[in-house]
């Protein structure tokens, strides 16, 4: 899914990274450079040195469904229905078809009621959910989610995870929930801009047993 060679970009310093898998979790302390790396892999920023590919292509050539850590900052429209439909309308999908896709997406996420609301009236978690819906409606090649789950309750996180799994869309997600990271195919642990560990969850968390970056459910089973 991801291939990085000699990337030097702001605080990111990654000599080599090869990641396979359909669900990839990026974890690490605050300020480790997780958002910077995600922005590069989403094609939102050009790297100063080195190279990166996503799904075998340059990040700029990949259709990315992006949800950032400030979902309300990226909202463009005052009505939720317009916000969720934005990417479809920008790509000139016919109105009736766009409405159908939007309603289907919100129904899949269990909150079709939000479509009649104004974005300014949404709670923090609801804004994250709407941003996710807007990211998924245009059938992206990959979803890149920057700590979206930190604004969401457990039931909503599960609903999103189930929706993503059903869609089969490859997902790269950053999270501070280690129990959730443990469900990924591959985990990357970033610290001070460097990849400290990268591999299957059992291998990565095996290196992190002594600190708090260890799944609480695994800790309970010990």
């Amino acid at each position: 899914m991801i291939r990085v060679r000699g990337m030097r970009h702001h605080l990111i310093d990654i000599e080599r990274l090869d990641v396979e898998g359909n669900r990839v979790a990026l974890i690490g302390p605050n300020g480790a450079g997780k958002t910077t790396l995600l922005e590069v892999l989403a094609g939102m920023d050009r790297i100063r040195e080195g190279s990166a590919t996503v799904l075998g292509k340059s990040p700029h050539e990949v259709k990315v469904g992006w949800v950032g850590e400030f979902p309300d900052r990226t909202m463009l429209f005052s009505r939720v229905c317009d916000e969720v439909a934005s990417s479809l309308r920008f790509t000139k999908v016919e109105q009736t078809e766009a409405d159908r896709i939007v309603l289907e997406a919100m129904a899949m996420l269990g909150r079709p009621d939000l479509l009649k609301r104004y974005t300014r009236s949404l709670s923090g978690g609801e804004k994250a959910l709407v941003a996710f819906a807007a990211a998924i409606v245009n059938s992206p090649d990959i979803l890149i989610l920057d700590e979206v789950d930190s604004h969401l309750d457990e039931a909503t996180v599960k609903m999103i995870a189930d929706a993503v799994q059903r869609s089969g869309i490859p997902t790269l997600f950053c999270t501070q929930d280690m129990d959730r990271a443990a469900t990924a195919d591959h985990v990357i642990f970033l610290r001070d801009g460097k990849v400290e560990f990268s591999g299957p969850p059992a291998e990565v968390f095996g290196q992190l047993q002594d600190g708090c970056f260890y799944p609480s459910l695994w800790r309970l089973s010990q």
Partner: protein, 230 residues
């Protein structure tokens, strides 16, 4: 010191009913997204009008820490931002892990770093009532643990924690849950642990195995499981 709630708050077509009393200690209010946690916090911060009554006794100062820390930003440097709270940056920035970074723009920080800065400010002010709306969102587990300690240390004040956090929670004195537009007070810990309708996964797992944790922190679940193994 106490806060008495008996009100109905309305926002657009949403209605929230709250009837409860909170005294000194740490009080958790859980609920799914959009359930009304922030609405309750806004009423307690006197930022939203309600029908009925919200009153306090022995309370001089209430401070709300909002879910999205960028909503608090009023200045263009970290130094000025800390000063806007009436605090000295030399005291607060080191506590936020930002010593020597006073000149930078707050919007250059990640949301997790902004949250750390905001929490360092509100804890430094030590208000009688501290309303923490999703205090753990965007924080890594090391910072979450430090925030838990700061919350637990405020035993002589009222601390309201509005959260759906799943991994790192502080020890609390009472648990309430909002569902279907109504605040449900589950009572004091340890009894409230068994009554709580939405425990985090680790606590749910411990309860399923027959453990009886005394409180809601991960450590409590681990100790309770050890007790039934012994």
């Amino acid at each position: 010191m106490r806060a008495d709630l008996d009100f109905i708050a309305e926002r657009e077509d949403f209605k929230l009913r709250c009837a409860a009393s909170y005294s000194e200690g740490v009080h958790l209010v859980s609920g799914i997204i959009g359930s009304g946690k922030s609405t309750m916090a806004l009423v307690m911060a006197s930022l939203l009008q309600c029908q009925g009554s919200y009153s306090t006794k022995g309370v001089q100062r209430t401070i709300l820490s909002m879910q999205f820390p960028e909503y608090h930003i009023t200045s263009s440097s970290l130094d000025d931002e800390v000063r806007s709270w009436g605090l000295d940056p030399r005291d607060v920035l080191p506590r936020a892990g930002m010593e020597g970074r006073g000149a930078i723009d707050p919007f250059k920080l990640s949301r997790g770093q902004l949250k750390r800065l905001n929490l360092a400010c509100v804890f430094a002010l030590d208000p009688d009532i501290l309303l923490l709306d999703e205090p753990f969102s965007s924080l890594d587990c090391m910072v979450k643990s430090r925030v838990c300690k700061a919350i637990e240390s405020r035993q002589d004040k009222i601390t309201m924690v509005f959260s759906h956090e799943r991994s790192v929670l502080p020890r609390v004195d009472s648990i309430s849950h909002i569902a279907d537009g109504e605040l449900r007070y589950h009572g004091n810990t340890p009894d409230a642990v068994m009554q709580w309708s939405s425990p985090p996964p680790y606590l749910r797992k411990a309860l399923e195995r027959g453990a009886r944790p005394k409180n809601i922190a991960l450590q409590d679940s681990m100790e309770a499981l050890c007790a039934i193994r012994d």
